[in-house]
Structure formats: C-alpha cells, structure tokens
Amino acid sequence: MIRTEGLTKVFTVGFRGRKVRALEGLTLEVKRGEIFGFLGPNGAGKTTTIKILTGLLYPTEGRAWIMGREIGDVSVKERMGFLPENPSFYEYLTGLEFLNFYGQLLKIPYDERLHRIGELFSLVGLEGAEELQLRRYSKGMIQRIGIAQALLNNPEVVILDEPMSGLDPLGRKEIRDLILRLRDEGKTVFFSTHILSDVEMICDRVAILVKGRLKAVGPLDELLGGYVKSIEVTVRDPGGVFEEVKDLAERVIRREDLLLISLKDEETVERVIEVVRERKGRIHSIVPQRLSLEEYFVKMQEEG
C-alpha cells in the first residue's frame, strides 16, 4: 500500500549551507489493511518521511509509492487522507466552512458532502462546534477536526503524524479506538508517534526509526519480546495462593482477595498458574511488562 525505497533527505541549513541528514535510505513497506506504527524519538525523521509521502518535501534520493503510484501523482491523493503534526487550519473559517471547503477540493458532490460532514462531526466528537470559528477551537478540537478533514473522502490510506500528541489520556484512547475502527473498515493506517504505549495495543506492525535510520520492522511483540521486563499476573485468591507464590515472585501486592504478582520469566508464570489451579483460584490477566521505548532505545544503543 505504501512502499519506500532508499528515501534520503538532506536539509541545508543557514547561510553556511550546513547539511543535516534527516533521513538515511529508508526502505519500508506497509501492507493493505494494517495499522502501521512509525515509532521513533523526537528528531528521528518521522515527520520528514511523512512530508515526503504527502509531497510536501522532495526526497534528496530514493522513491516512494502509494497504492502503486509514485508520489507526486495527484490521483493518489483522492484516495488518501493526511493529518499533519500539530495541525493548524484557516482560523477565520468555522468548522463547517472548513470541512465544506476541503470537501469542494475533493470534488465531493454537495448532498453527499453535507451528509459526510455531519457524520464526521459526530465521529470525531465535535457536535455543536460546527458554527464556531477555528480560532476558538482548543488544541484537542483542532486535532479532531484535523482527523475529520483527513477522512472526508473516505480514504483507503490514512497517514497521521503524531495524532495523539497534545491530547489527554481519554483523548488518546478515543483516537486509538478510531484507528481500530478505520482498520475494521478496511483502511490502511500509517501513523507516527514517539510514545510506545500509543502503538502497543493497536498496531499490527511497527517500524522503529532512530536518527534517520530504520532500526527494526515487525510486530511489536517480536521486536520488544526479548526485552520483557517482567510479567504481571492478576489472580483471585480464595486462600493459600499468596503463601505459595510469595517466594516465586519478585513482588506481590495484595488487595483483599486480589493478588498482583510480578514475575521474572515465563517458567515461573507456568508454576504460578499451576498453584492457582490447585487452589481453585482464578486468573484475571497476564500482562507482560515491556520496556518503555526510551529504555528500548537506551538498550539498543548499549548493544551498538
């Protein structure tokens, strides 16, 4: 769906013409219908990549294709949606005027346009803000209307640059749900973030970019699997479990009949499960505690 080959971007800064290599030979493929997370710390080159994909920057080297067509082909954009990083829109327009204007650019017929706009206002949770000028929108509302404009044409590919930045935890969750919904509708979603937890639950695959270079691509579990810090098991203890697992675990927290057990590896998890079965307890959840992305990057650097 999205393919890049050796994308490289070199910026020239200042009067001296100092060169900044923002992206270094990025080769990547995003498959149809997947949610693809583009992970990397600040300054990794995520935005640069996305701007190249949307035709805002020209790559110094390399090529890229979306839906089989080389970027720069305008027809691609008819079936694509894009939300930039920290978006900003025509502040003198009302929300409705804004979406209507963009709908015109997409040549959506009038009736369909109005219908679609109404739908989107409720989809992104902006009902009631239609007649408000964008200059009066809060940052979260701008982010939402930004997503709405990206979805106006019911796109096959959606590219989102840091869609969760600047949102509160609830907002983040809403965006996550929205992305999942888009995938369910069969869309391909490519989004960037520097926060691991944003991608954890929802991404089919992720790519990790550091200093303009691609470090890893694949399902998150595979990538971070080797770096599980601990496994947290929650069980309901009818009595006796606590005493038996106390020595196996690194730490046990007890709250009434609930136990939160932190374990080191999968072997001990097996043994804990046996104990719980014997005691007729119940297993609530088993959650592996991964490294945070920051810890991951530190580890990667340590490993060279």
Partner: protein, 265 residues
C-alpha cells in the same frame, strides 16, 4: 473547480482581514474629501475631484494588492495550512491560480466600490463621467493585476516584510522606467547607457497603464475617448491590456516554477 474553491476561500480570507477595511475606508474618505476640497476652487472642481479620486483609487488599490498579496502564499506556509491543502488532490500550480484569482476578485470588488464612490462625488458636483473614465479604471485594474503577480512571486520565497519592500520598489520604479531610460541615454558612461536601456525593457512599465491625464482632458472638454487621435485611444487600451497580461503571465509562471520546486519545511 478546485481552483475556484481556493479562489473563493482566498476572497473570504481577504474580506475577513482587517487591513482591507482600513484601506477601503481611507480610500472612500479621501474620495469624499476630494468633493469638499474641490468646492474651494471654483472652475477646477472636476479636475481636482478626478485628480484626487483616481490617484486615491490607484494608490489604495495598489496597497491592497501589496499588503494582501505578500501574505498570499507566505501565510499558508507559515501557518502550515498549506500542508493539508496540498494533501488534497490539487496541483501546486492550481493552488497558485486559485490564490491569485481570489485576490484579483477581491481587488475588483474593491475597485468597484471605490469607483462607485468617485462616480457619486462627480455626479454630486454636477458632472458626468465618460467612457474614458472607465477605460482608465480598467488600466488601473491591469496595474493591480501586475502588482499582485509581483507580490505573489515574492511571497513564494520571501518574508512579508521583504516582499512588501520589493513589491513597493517595483511599483515606484515601474512608474519611473521612462526616466531611467532618459537619464541613462544622457549619461556619458556606456555601461550606464546599456544598463538603463536593459532595465527599461525588463522592468514593468506601469506608466503604460496611466491615462489619467486623458480622462481629465476628455471630461473637461467633453470629448469622447473613441475619438482620441482617430481611434488610437482604443488601440492603446487594447495593447496596454495585452502588455499587462503578457507581463503578468511571465511573472506568474516564474512564481509557479519557484513554488513547484520548493520544500515545505
């Protein structure tokens, strides 16, 4: 169609901009003032009204063209609104066409408003405007078109302040190219002679759009423009218009080349 949407939005942007109203109010005030001033000097009334009125229309129109034109593209980049616009199926040159025509439409509307004011004052003073008057305004509009294209060109690669300075300089020099040529030809220095001739042909000659003297002449003397020099008058309008359009086209295409090539960082 897509260009039209951009143009309409540009128009909306301009008419929601405070600069426009300030300039328009000033222009109307000065045009109105010309009526009051003219009552002070009997006999030359219409001359003074037209002098002041036409000059005010031209100067304020050019100021609108410059101050709105310099932000045309720059603001879109600065406020990052261009990111999503260009992610829609619209070519970069179409975006420029839309922005350019949107501003031209705004200027046309303002020109009509200012003209209505001037015509009103002229009528109140007991005179009538004639066809030359409207030809003159048409050429003034051609000047707006050319100035707007320059502002657009600068706005594609430079900051508003610099663009304003550049465009304003072109406006001033554009009215002095004949003087440049004259003084160059008078110079002893062969390099200056050559340079002044080259400048004369390269710089836009805005005096080609200036027939204000003819308006006053024909209105005061009750002549018809069609009679001026046995039809030369109409040919002058035609060729001045063509000159303006060709020149604007070249400037606009330069703007497109720059705009197509640039990165939006």
């Amino acid at each position: 169609m897509r260009e039209l949407a951009i143009a309409f939005n540009t128009f909306r942007e301009c008419i929601r901009d405070r600069i426009l109203y300030n300039l328009l109010i000033f222009a109307i005030l000065i045009i109105g003032l010309s009526g009051i001033l003219s009552t002070l000097s009997i006999g030359e009334q219409v001359r003074i009204i037209l002098n002041i009125g036409l000059a005010a229309i031209e100067i304020f129109g050019v100021m609108m063209a410059i101050f709105l034109g310099i932000g045309l593209v720059y603001k879109e980049i600065d406020r990052r609104t261009i990111y999503t616009i260009l992610s829609k199926p619209i070519k970069r040159y179409q975006f420029l066409v839309g922005k350019f025509s949107g501003l031209l439409f705004t200027l046309l509307v303002n020109l009509i408003i200012m003209t209505a004011g001037l015509v009103g004052v002229v009528y109140l003073m007991g005179w009538h405007v004639n066809s030359t008057f409207f030809y003159c305004l048409w050429l003034i509009f051609m000047e707006f078109v050319l100035i707007t294209s320059l502002a657009l060109l600068f706005s594609c690669f430079s900051t508003p302040t610099l663009s304003a300075i550049f465009t304003l300089s072109f406006f001033v020099i554009g009215h002095l190219t004949e003087d440049i040529k004259f003084f160059g030809s008078r110079s002893e220095n062969p390099f200056l002679q050559k340079a002044s001739t080259i400048l004369y042909y390269i710089l836009p000659n805005l005096e080609n759009f200036n027939i204000k003297a003819l308006v006053i002449d024909t209105i005061v003397r009750g002549l018809y423009f069609e009679d001026v020099s046995a039809g030369v008058g109409l040919k002058l309008i035609l060729f001045s218009t063509l000159y303006g359009l060709f020149y604007t086209a070249i400037i606009f295409l330069l703007a497109v080349i720059i705009f197509e090539k640039r990165d939006f960082k």
